[in-house]
Subunit: 229 residues, 2 copies
DNA sequence: TTACTTAGTGTAAAAAATACACACTATATT
DNA sequence: AATATAGTGTGTATTTTTTACACTAAGTAA
C-alpha cells in the first residue's frame, strides 16, 4: 500500500490480489487511487503493516476494510522491494493473494480515503496498474495456478454448494485452458474430498446438476497427501 | 538478522538458510551469536536490508560476506513478522534459501562482529536456534523439498561434473527418502537436461562412474516445461 | 410434443510409475 | 596372480495413471 509515507527510512506494507469468482469470470478487486502518486490510476489494495499486527493479521484487516468480510482465504506469496518501486521513497511490500466467491453482492463497503472507489475487474481485461502492481499481480496469478493443482483452493472461489461443472469452470479459468469433462470428473472425484449432496441445482432452465460440497474432514484425513492435477 | 536495532518503528531484515552439500551430508551454515539477545546461541545468518539495495542484492551481500562467493543460487521464500518474534522490537524478516556445493574448503571467510564464528552443521543434528529460526529453517527445507521436484536446483549442490549416484544422493537427502537406482536414472536421464561426458570419476578404489554435467542449453529449450519427480 | 440445453457416463489405448536382481569393472589385498 | 571388495550399470514385466473421445438422459420452454 502506497498512500502514506511517513518520514522513515523504509516503509513496510502489504498488497493484496483479491480474486473473486462470480460464476462466470475471474475478477480482481482494484481501487482507483485518489492521491498522488498515480492519482486516478488503478492499484491493488494495500496498507501499511501496523506496529502490533502480525503480517497475516494485517492482510486480514486490509481485506476486511475492503469487503467487510472476515475469514477470507489468503496467503502471502512474495515480497517486492526494489529501491525504485515507489517514486517517493523506499517501500517494501509483501504480496498476498486472497480468494473469495462473489455474488452475495454486499461484499463491497465504503473504503478509505486514498481511494475513490473499488471495483471488480475481470482479469482478462485489466487496466494499467500503478507502481509495480502489474508485476505483483502476474506473480500472484502464477502462484494460484500452481497452487490450485495441489491444494484445495478452488473451493474458496465457489459457494458452499456447487456443481462439478462450476468447479471445472474455476479450474479452467485459473489454469487458462480447457479441460475434458469426463476426465476432470473422474479425477476430482477420485481425490475423495467431495461430498455428493441429495440436492440439485435450482432455477435453471435445463436439467439440474447435482450439488457437491468440499468435505474438510475427508481432506484432513489425507494428511498432507497431495492432490495433483 | 537481528543484531542491530536502530530506534525505528520496525526493522526489515533478511535471513538466509544456506544449504551445503559435501558429498556426504546436507548441512546448513549457522553462526554463533556474540551479542544479546541470544548471545552464544546458533542462528541463521542475516542482516538488515540497506537503503539502496534490492532484496535479492541484500541477500547476495549477506552470502558474500559469509562465504566470499558471488553468484550463489538463492531464492526468497517467506516473510516472518510476528510482533513478538524479536524480544527487542519489531523485526520483519524475509527468508531466503541458498544452495552451494561444499568441498572447495576456502568458502568460509572472517565474519562480522555480531558472530563469534560460523559453522556448517548437518541438518540431521541441529542445535536449538535463536529467535524463530527453527521455524524459518523448517519452512526453508519444506520449500526446497518441493522445489527440487520441479526445478533443476539439485545441481547447485554438486560440483560441475558429477555422477548419477551423487545426484541421486542429493535427491535422497533433500527428499528424506531412498530412491530406486534404476528408476531414478531412467527418469533423470529422460528429462534430457544431462550431458554425459567422456570422463570418468578418478581416485576411487572401485569401478569409476561416468561423469555428467547439467546442460543449461537443453534445459532452456524445455522452456518452462516442468520436470516432475 | 418437440426443441433445446446441459448433465452424466465408459472404454480402449498410450504413457508413466513401480518393483525387482545380477553381471561388470576397477582397485586393493594377500 | 588370484581373490575380495565396493560401487557401476543395465532390462523387463506389472500396475497405475493419463488421455482421447461421443452419446443418452433429464429437465425446461415453447
Amino acid at each position: 500500500m502506497e498512500q502514506i509515507l511517513p518520514h522513515l527510512d523504509s516503509v513496510f506494507s502489504i498488497d493484496c490480489v483479491l480474486f473473486g469468482f462470480d460464476g462466470k469470470e475471474l475478477k480482481i478487486l482494484l481501487i482507483e487511487r485518489n492521491e498522488e502518486p498515480f492519482k486516478d490510476w488503478w492499484a491493488l489494495p494495500g496498507n501499511i503493516v501496523g506496529p502490533d499486527e502480525s503480517l497475516d493479521q494485517s492482510a486480514s484487516r486490509i481485506l476486511y476494510e475492503l469487503t467487510g468480510l472476515r475469514g477470507i482465504y489468503m496467503e502471502q506469496y512474495y515480497a517486492f522491494g526494489d529501491p525504485g518501486r515507489h517514486p517517493q521513497g523506499r517501500v517494501i511490500t509483501l504480496a498476498y493473494y486472497a480468494l473469495i466467491r462473489l455474488g452475495g453482492d454486499k461484499e463491497l463497503r465504503p473504503i478509505s480515503t486514498y481511494a475513490k472507489r473499488a471495483n471488480w475487474l475481470p482479469i482478462t481485461d485489466l487496466p494499467k496498474l500503478a507502481f509495480d502492481h502489474q508485476k505483483i499481480y502476474d506473480k500472484g496469478l502464477e502462484k494460484i495456478k500452481r497452487r490450485i493443482k495441489h491444494q484445495p483452493i478452488a473451493f474458496e472461489l465457489l459457494p458452499e454448494k456447487f456443481t462439478l461443472t462450476q468447479l471445472q469452470h474455476v479450474y479452467e479459468l485459473v489454469l487458462g485452458k480447457k479441460l475434458d469433462k469426463r476426465n476432470f470428473r473422474k479425477k476430482i472425484v477420485s481425490f475423495g474430498v467431495l461430498k455428493e449432496l441429495d440436492e440439485k441445482q435450482k432455477g435453471v432452465s435445463y436439467r439440474a446438476a447435482t450439488l457437491y460440497r468440499f468435505d474438510k474432514r475427508k481432506y484432513a484425513k489425507l494428511f498432507g497427501k497431495e492432490i495433483s492435477f
